[in-house]
């Protein structure tokens, strides 16, 4: 009766061989092409370092003002601007300014990247149904995969540091922007699309004059989610050497520094609120004229 209680598994020797073969292949790939892969990503590394240095080395009042100005243009509300400034000052007072700047810089660059890749992918997904079906499945897998798993192949190929961290963050954070771009385009009012056709729009005219502008509030919601996920992943990516607030949290866990953990945790929450308020307020402002007030 032993077989009933022990699930029949593949031969352990065989499993071991499979694992060895795959890992071996990946290692061979890294050994053979590691240098060229690193060279390939070198420009990216320069960009990341440039952003990080720019924001870290800038005088702090300038950074506060710059972010406040962005908040004003996105939200046009003084309460939002005040909250943003207050949060930044609080982070600075806790002695976390440098780390926070590193985190903000990485979240910012990876979100920009995710948007630049994600929106076109969302458009393609919407246009070609079959591709859309395949991508849905891929995105489902990506969104359920535990984030730690992404770190392994990235580390194997690129080692630790900014670039692998950045890549892991982009991969983790990109699904919402793809999905919501597709969804936003699908939700555009059928009659408006018909009007675009009736007036002789070409495909690209329809896309840029009608579909994208009308999908914009939904796309903004996607951008918002992507930012939040990027922020979450930046913390996890501290495990592969990404500096910033996440690394402090990691240290706090390892050494049981409760207060350090709490402070850094709050700083991350503060940054999340800043990004969230700014992107959401912008999304709301986009929506101002879209409701059907008279039906």
């Amino acid at each position: 009766m032993d077989w009933l209680f022990k699930f029949p598994q593949l031969d352990p020797e065989f499993l071991l061989a499979v694992k060895r073969a795959i890992d071996g292949a990946l290692k061979a790939l890294t050994r053979g092409y590691g240098q060229s892969i690193e060279d390939f990503f070198y420009p990216l590394q320069r960009v990341l370092i440039f952003f990080e240095n720019t924001i870290s080395n800038a005088p702090w009042p300038l950074v506060v003002i710059a972010i406040a100005v962005i908040a004003w243009f996105a939200a046009r509300r003084w309460t939002v601007v005040a909250a943003v400034i207050g949060t930044l000052i609080a982070i600075g007072l806790l002695g976390l300014w440098q780390d926070a700047m590193k985190t903000i810089s990485l979240v910012f660059t990876s979100t920009l990247f995710a948007i630049a890749i994600g929106i076109p992918l969302g458009i393609l997904m919407n246009r070609y149904r079959r591709l859309g079906g395949v991508m849905q499945t891929v995105l489902d897998v990506m969104q359920t995969m535990p984030p730690f798993v992404y770190l392994i192949p990235v580390v194997m190929l690129l080692g630790i540091g900014r670039v692998p961290g950045f890549i892991a963050v982009v991969i983790y954070a990109i699904p919402p922007i793809i999905r919501l771009t597709d969804l936003g385009i699908r939700l555009v009012d059928k009659e408006v699309l018909e009007a675009a056709d009736a007036y002789g729009c070409s495909r690209s005219q329809k896309l840029w004059k009608v579909q994208i502008p009308l999908a914009m509030p939904t796309i903004m919601a996607g951008i918002n989610q992507t930012i939040m996920m990027a922020l979450g992943m930046v913390v996890i990516a501290s495990m592969i050497g990404v500096q910033g607030l996440g690394l402090n949290v990691l240290q706090a866990i390892a050494n049981q520094y409760f207060t350090q953990g709490i402070f850094n945790g709050f700083a991350i929450v503060g940054i999340a609120i800043i990004f969230d308020r700014i992107s959401q307020a912008y999304g709301h402002r986009l929506q101002k004229h879209r409701g059907a007030a008279h039906d």
């Binding site: 009012d189 009659e191 018909e194 009736a198 007036y199 002789g200 729009c201 059907a292």
Partner: protein
Amino acid sequence: MGTACRSTGVQHMTSNNASIEIRDLYKIFGKSPARYVEAVRAGMTKAELSKAHGQILGLNNINISMPAGKIQVVMGLSGSGKSTLIRHINRLIEPTSGSIMIDGRDVLDMSELELREFRRNHTAMVFQRFGLLPHRTVIDNVTFGLEVRGVEAAKSRDTAMRWIDRVGLSGFETRYPNELSGGMQQRVGLARALSNNASILLMDEAYSALDPLIRTDMQTMLLELQTELKKTIVFITHDLDEALRLGDQIVILRDGSIIQQGDSQDILLRPADDYIERFVKDVNRGRFIKVDAVMEPPPQSDGRSLPKLKSGLTLETAAKELTNSSFDSAYVTGDGGQPLGLISLRQITAALSSGSAA
């Protein structure tokens, strides 16, 4: 862009000869519609087709000659295929078989590029729920068609401002559609269509979403504009009053087939079947039937001096004028004053009360 000069070329052909000839048009909605056209030609009904093959018969053997410069109304209840029909004219919906000739060209033979050019320069469309772009202001909505065509911004702005003024929306140029009432939104839709300066105007239940009073205003405006513009207008409606008021010609559809074609007098005085008769019953006949449809030929030599009624008067007005005079019959006269016929109060009353007067 090259398209700009083409559009000026179009502006010269305002007096239009864009008649629309629809021949043997069939539309079947389903997976493999072409297989069932023959069966429908042979007499299979909508219900049979749907039950036996799961295909929906949208349009069944449609033949209409829509004259240039006139208002052609297509009337029917929901599901009659009227919205499907109007979408075939600019091919928003692909037909299963048939032909639609406009200006010597078959719309259904056009390539994608030709069709786009045709839609840009020869047709304009007004929609039931307006189909405006919510993120654009009134003026930017009105210039939409011109912008798509590639007309330069300053010029299309001028054109748009002129039409915004004509439809009575001056001062609202920078508002957004959701800040306007339904009637005003539809004026924007109309201004957008007219800015295109196309010879064919397609109006898909354009006034059905509006309040009755506003609807009447919009009808009046359309009739006024039409006396000057002389466009070929295809107007879809489910409202017989609207059809009778606007239509130079009326087609009535049911279940995708035409059950009657004619002008308002034909529909009112000679309804083709019970279905139409039921519609006609509730209409204010006095307002739509004209004296010409009821009068009898003028007597050869008649010394009597009777009052004169102009040809084209409605029975309502004629009855009022006759009652005010002390006579009970009158001559119906043409533009030059020549007698065309004789009409009596008794004939008028008969036509007003009965279902089939003549």
